[in-house]
């Protein structure tokens, strides 16, 4: 079976090479049959890699522990669900998974756009095939998931088992979601490159990729959020984001993709920022590769790094240099075709707000990149290894985040081209009022953490903006259709998905920021308690009762039983635990006990225990507002889905004029 897998990888490599060569050669010679054969080969890669995925999944399910990868990441005792998902549990498999996704996405993108963007397709096929070849090359030469134990020095047993920390439903969907986001960003890049190669640099390539970018962005956001939930619930240190290199790697392309989704509107509406958009697409794709490189090759060292892998680092470096040279080289070559069709009229315009938002997002990406690479950089430049911790990140990202939040509110209020003072007064009145009232209310209530307070005020401002947009749009619509406000609001959303979907996404972002701001009011305590002993954090009193040990065959579970009182009144018991998985007794997993609430979470970790005297070391955290992050993501996802719906699907012919008129301030929706 393993040789079949390796054969499939080799075959895919050859077929990719053919697909790239045939489509380029074909389009050069205007030989469309050759181009078609290239596209056929391109579909074949997807088929081959699907079979290869089938082979590795089969090996996991049937327990073929002679294959090194299967042995390292699964064992016989694992539930079937986790056996299936061990596919992407390690490096080698995740590269295969990456290649598989890329082949499928590529095939779909080519199939969908084959007729509409005929000129671009051969170059799209070639670009994706070359990227594909890189990953196949990595696997065949360096990280073959089908590799077997060659020598008899290791007798295949029943597997070493997946890291228990990863045996968690969030961890099952988190990596593929992130990968879908990462891989999805290759498609816009391929279309961008095709546009550069062919010189068809009108907006048609943008139309082809806008949706792809949005879907990829959604999955990237989903993956990042799942990572946060996992860190919060499974790692048990009381937080959800630690600015770890691996988290940062996922965040980098998220920043640039967000920037792209905004600047694309400026190009559609005003024909500006055309170079910028190409550059963002290239950068986003580059960052997905760079993020993988950063975390997988050991250039960023920490206690959590994966060990140095010079060979892998070299291969990645070579690929990245090639990628940057070709991409930006082509961009510079095509600069004359990318000239902007308009100039910026005024700084009080939507374009300017979008531009500012883009700069800040790009700066965020560069900053996070710089700070993540800082230990490596300082070592190579100064010979002295300096590190920066989460406080450094927070110091910078907190104001940056607040500025972005502010722009989220400002952007929709400004008009395209130029906002007049009277127009601005009309637009800003209500949101500003709401922000001021909120600030006053918070000050009166005695919540005086300035950063969080500012965040709440800005959140109120953004919500004010969104409400106003919906309200005014609905009123105008109501006036012309004669329905009630709610109906006209629904009509409004279904009439222009991108605009109002976008506002709903903004609302989700605001809720997430509320959750982040809650961090400012976090309280925690680390205590060692004997039975009967208690500790108080905020209004919660935690009383330790006992420590018990149970076993379910796969793991041993040590559970502490504690009683909780809130303001003196008993509100029930909680059971934080530690699980010791078989074969992994050295690394017990932390089973956090969380009592969730809209207002705050009570979060208790059993950090250590003593069975003889039944004492327990508890980490007790009160995390305010944290659940709004997850709720916010849900709303963000809803908004993105609405924005993705085909335009004008539910539009009623008679209502069109009304909704067009509804635009108090125009947001790009073309």
């Amino acid at each position: 079976m393993s040789s079949l897998g390796t054969f499939l990888l080799l075959a895919s490599f050859v077929v990719s090479a053919y697909a790239a060569a045939a489509s380029i050669g074909g389009v050069r010679r205007r030989d469309w049959r050759l181009v078609d054969s290239g596209i056929g080969a391109f579909y074949l890669i997807a088929a081959l890699l699907t079979v290869a995925s089938g082979v590795i999944v089969h090996a996991f399910v049937s327990g073929n522990y002679a294959i090194r990868y299967v042995d390292r990441y699964s064992d016989t005792a694992m539930p079937m669900f986790y056996k299936l998902t061990s596919y992407w549990g390690g490096l080698d498999g995740s590269i295969l998974f990456w290649a598989f996704l890329l082949s499928v996405f590529g095939a779909v993108a080519v199939k969908v756009n084959r007729e509409i963007h005929r000129e671009l397709i051969p170059y799209v096929v070639a670009t994706i095939s070359v990227v594909q070849m890189f990953f196949l090359f990595l696997m065949v030469l360096h990280n073959n998931p089908f590799e077997t134990y060659l020598l008899a020095d290791k007798v295949p047993g029943d597997g070493q088992g997946l890291n228990p920390l990863l045996q968690n439903p969030y961890m099952v969907i988190h990596p593929p979601s992130l990968y879908i986001g990462f891989v999805g960003m290759t498609i816009p890049y391929a279309f961008g490159m095709a546009a550069l190669f062919t010189g068809y640099l009108d907006d048609s390539w943008l139309r082809a990729v806008r949706r792809w970018t949005m879907v990829s962005w959604l999955f990237l956001s989903f993956g990042l959020t799942l990572g946060m939930i996992w860190a919060y619930e499974e790692l048990g240190w009381g937080g959800y984001w630690g600015w770890d290199p691996v988290e940062n790697a996922g965040l980098l392309p998220w920043f640039t993709a967000t920037a792209f989704l905004h600047s694309v509107m400026v190009q559609e509406r005003r024909g500006m920022l055309r170079i910028w958009n190409i550059a963002l697409v290239i950068t986003t794709f580059f960052l997905t590769i760079f993020g993988t490189f950063m975390t997988r090759s050991g250039v960023v060292q920490s206690v959590h790094a994966f060990g140095e892998d010079r060979q892998l680092a070299m291969m990645f470096t070579g690929f990245m240099v090639l990628l940057l040279t070709v991409s930006f080289g082509m961009m510079i070559y095509r600069l004359p075709l990318l000239r902007s069709r308009h100039e910026l009229d005024s700084w009080a315009s939507k374009e300017a707000a979008f531009l500012a938002n883009n700069w800040i997002l790009l700066f965020s990406a560069l900053f996070v990149l710089f700070a993540t690479m800082f230990p490596t950089l300082s070592e190579s430049v100064m010979g002295e290894r300096l590190t920066v911790g989460p406080p450094f990140f927070n110091k910078w990202m907190l104001p940056i985040g607040l500025i972005l939040l502010f722009l989220t509110g400002v952007g929709p209020l400004l008009a395209w081209r130029k906002s007049t003072p009277s127009n601005m007064r009309y637009q800003f009145q209500f949101p500003l009022l709401l922000a001021v009232v909120t600030t006053g209310g918070l000050y009166a209530a005695g919540l005086r953490v300035w950063s969080s307070g500012l965040c709440f005020a800005l959140s109120a401002f953004v919500i004010g903006t969104i409400l106003q947009e919906f309200w005014r749009g609905a009123r105008v619509r109501q006036g012309s259709t004669g329905t009630d406000v709610l109906t006209s609001m629904i009509g409004l959303v279904s009439r222009s998905h991108r605009r109002y979907g976008g506002y709903i996404v903004h609302l989700g972002i605001v809720l997430m920021f509320l959750g982040f701001a809650g961090e400012g009011y976090k309280r925690e305590e680390q205590v060692l308690l004997r039975p009967g002993g208690s500790a108080t954090v905020r209004e919660f009193t935690v009383t330790h009762r006992s420590v018990k040990v149970t076993d379910d065959g796969q793991k041993q579970m040590v559970t502490a039983h504690v009683d909780i009182q809130r303001d003196g009144a008993s509100i029930g018991a909680m059971d934080p635990a530690k699980w010791f998985f078989r074969k992994r007794e050295q690394e017990p997993t932390t089973e956090v006990a969380i009592r969730r609430g809209a207002w705050e979470d009570l979060y208790i970790v059993l950090a250590a225990f003593e069975l003889q005297d039944q004492s327990a070391t508890l980490h007790i955290v009160v995390n305010p507002l944290v659940n709004w992050i997850w709720v916010g993501f849900g709303i963000l996802a809803l908004g993105t889905v609405i924005a993705l719906l085909p335009e004008r699907q539910f539009a009623f012919a008679g209502a069109r004029a009304a909704a067009d008129a509804a635009a108090g301030s125009e947001v790009g929706r073309a």
Partner: protein
Amino acid sequence: MSKKATRIGLTSLVLALAFGGLLWTSLSEGTEYYKHVDEVMTDPAPWYGKKLQLHGHVIDGSILRKRDTLDYKFKVENNGSVVEARYTGIVPDTFKDGSEVVIKGKLGPEGFVVEPNGVMAKCPSKYEATNAPSASTAASVPASSGR
């Protein structure tokens, strides 16, 4: 065009300088030296009071805990140099005799004072094999977690 170019040039220069300055000041406060124990302890005096991350191994049998508290005292060694460390709080599960640790904090004449959540530890043995899950997952174990 050239007027526009100078304007853009000047703006970006000012912005770049401002950011550079801010970055420089915040970096000089925010950075910590990452050192092995022997690099520091052969001549410790210049390091007193500086923020440090020390890398070494816990000496077998050196971990002491005051009864009924979370006050720890332990010794970390590397290439023959030893530093005594004090810490109050929760230690990671992997922190035990012989494990490889990185401790964050400040050095003083009477020893190394570890800051809260400043103990990070690797298992002596199985770390390599187990800590290679997928790209997105593994290192999500954040630095601040003290794991």
